[in-house]
Amino acid sequence: MSSDPLIRAESLTTAFTVGRSFMKRAVLRAVDEVSLDIRANEVLALVGESGSGKTTFGRSLLRLVEPTAGAIWYDGRDITHLPGDEMRALRRQMQIVFQDPFASLDPRMSVGEIVGEGLRIHGMGAASVRAQRVANVLEQVGLGADHARRYPHALSGGQRQRVGIARALAVEPRFIVADEPVSSLDVSIQAQIVQLLVELRRRLGLTMLFITHNLGVVRILSDRVAVMYLGRLVEIAPTATLFERPAHPYTRSLLASIPLPDPKARRPLAALRGELPSGLNPPSGCVFRTRCPHAIEACASARPELRALGPGHQAACSRPEITALPFQGFA
């Protein structure tokens, strides 16, 4: 694994104005100063509960949503303000697999047209060459070349998601954002798609941002894990480290909420209290303090910065005595 970052977010912030009242406009900071690197050939998992801003972060990274502040570097180049036509040309190198395999495929296009769309947009080869490429990619994702003539409505959810993956792979991108690619599928199908991603990763050496709330999948697929809470990055670590020594109280409660396969096993319950606070009016200081079992008064005043805890391991908790606590979750 090489260590130069292929893609880097620098204090990336994406805010939406929400027209809540006609007097003043509320601002939702869906992504709030998130900085992270993804190295070439690495799979970085981005986890967090619904509403934590992980999907918005993935879309901002590809500039499908324009970030409000901060910078995006791709391959040593600042692409934050790249003009439209250059950005479109660059999109060949960075692709996305969407969460909803139903709505993300144009019902008027055949599978072959969908998968070949990127090839056409970027003028990659004559029609016959493109058809060959489409057939190859379809085979790569476990569909037959004869699927090219079918329409999305004739496919199952799992097959559609395979088409979505094939569409992203067809243009031979260097970087892929996978936005919860399995969460809207049946459990049995989820395993197949995860298996496919693992295999593709091994064969093609994909660089991927894998957005998910399924921690089980994270363990199988990713090299490193980043945890987001209410738009902020709260912890980032190599996968093994994160599962063995989670430092941030939020990460710990996430891990502790994974059900154990053994029904007789007992462990301290660390389930999260309460609901995710509104992003329109986030808590002051540490955003997690309203649900944190270790919150003290000081947590309300200063915003905790990411603090190095070990090789590649950082967490945004201002209490070193808490992050140093041993994790009991899997006891």
Binding site: L90, R91, S104, S183, S184, V187, L276
Partner: protein
């Protein structure tokens, strides 16, 4: 907002969206049409056929006058001749032949007008919906202005300014209804553009033009076709009104409207001169209206197949 992530319980799969109009061709198949629509579509075909092959179908030259045979009644009435099935007008011209040529001129003008209006309106509607912002507001303001001015007035002013050249007529007739396309198309685009497959195309590097042509238009084709059929009768009537008023198609060329206008003077003693072309107008309008209503039902109601 849901609570903490639960990794084992998968989310209930999203319900499949309403079946897209993929089985369009099958649902539009002739044998699935109700009997009235079967008749209407056959009649519509007959009209198109007559208009296309008018020179070979007409019994007489539509512009040849025959003063001695003027104002002959239709063949089935007393004094009628088999040679002139619909009778003759005040100059002795064969009404059937003139009706056939009239269909050709009127329907042709209406069709071209329809296309002009559809092109202008659809383009502006797509631009408005896709770009949004100031462009959207400007275009919609223009639409509001056009809606508040009567169509006939716009055409009259246009004819006063540019004359009654056939190209001017087509453009003016088309302009008269462009705003209906702009509004409907914009609304459709606003719906379609939020679909993830549009974002997927953007992620692939598709430009606005690419997305408009490849994804937006095919997905709004249904409502657009319905709108075209529903607009056709009013366009045909607009052309007829203009010709009736004598500012549309100029004599001696026969158009259905100008023929009704000619017959106005003889309505009491030779009613057929006005009634024959008027009935043709009614027939065409009715047929196309029926087809339009049927299409709207078939395309808008999303039936699972």
């Amino acid at each position: 907002m849901t609570t903490a992530a639960d990794p084992t319980v998968s989310r209930i799969p999203a319900p499949a969206p309403a079946a897209p109009e993929f089985a369009l061709r099958r649902r539009l198949a002739f044998r699935r049409m109700p009997i009235s629509i079967k008749i209407c579509s056959l009649l519509a075909l007959a009209f198109v056929f007559t208009a296309l092959f008018a020179p070979w179908l007409t019994p007489h030259d539509p512009d040849a006058t025959q003063i001695l045979a003027k104002l002959k009644p239709p063949a089935w009435m007393e004094g009628g001749e088999a040679a002139h099935l619909f009778g003759t007008d005040q100059l002795g011209r064969d009404l059937l032949s003139r009706c056939i040529y009239g269909v050709r001129v009127s329907v042709g003008l209406a069709l071209f007008g329809l296309i002009v209006g559809c092109l202008i309106g659809t383009t502006l509607g797509v631009v408005s919906g896709l770009l949004g912002g100031h462009v959207d507001r400007a275009i919609m303001m223009l639409v509001d202005v056009f809606i508040s001015v009567p169509n006939l007035l716009i055409v009259l002013v246009g004819i006063a300014a540019f004359g009654t050249d056939i190209v001017v007529l087509v453009v003016l007739i088309g302009l008269a209804r462009w705003e209906s396309y702009a509004r409907i198309v914009r609304g459709q685009v606003l719906q379609v553009r939020e679909m993830p497959f549009i974002e997927a195309s953007r992620a692939l590097g598709g430009s606005h033009a690419w997305i408009a042509m490849r994804h937006v238009l095919p997905n709004i084709a249904g409502p657009l076709i319905v709108l075209l059929t529903l607009n056709f009768p009013s366009i045909l009537l607009l052309e007829s009104s203009l010709s009736f008023l004598g500012i549309g198609v100029q004599p001696p060329t026969a158009s259905l409207g100008s023929m009704v206008g000619d017959g106005r003077d003889h309505l009491i003693f030779a009613w057929w001169v006005a009634v024959a072309p008027a009935l043709v107008i009614v027939a065409i309008t009715f047929i196309v209206q029926m087809l339009g209503d049927w299409l709207r039902d078939v395309l808008d109601v999303r039936v699972d197949d």
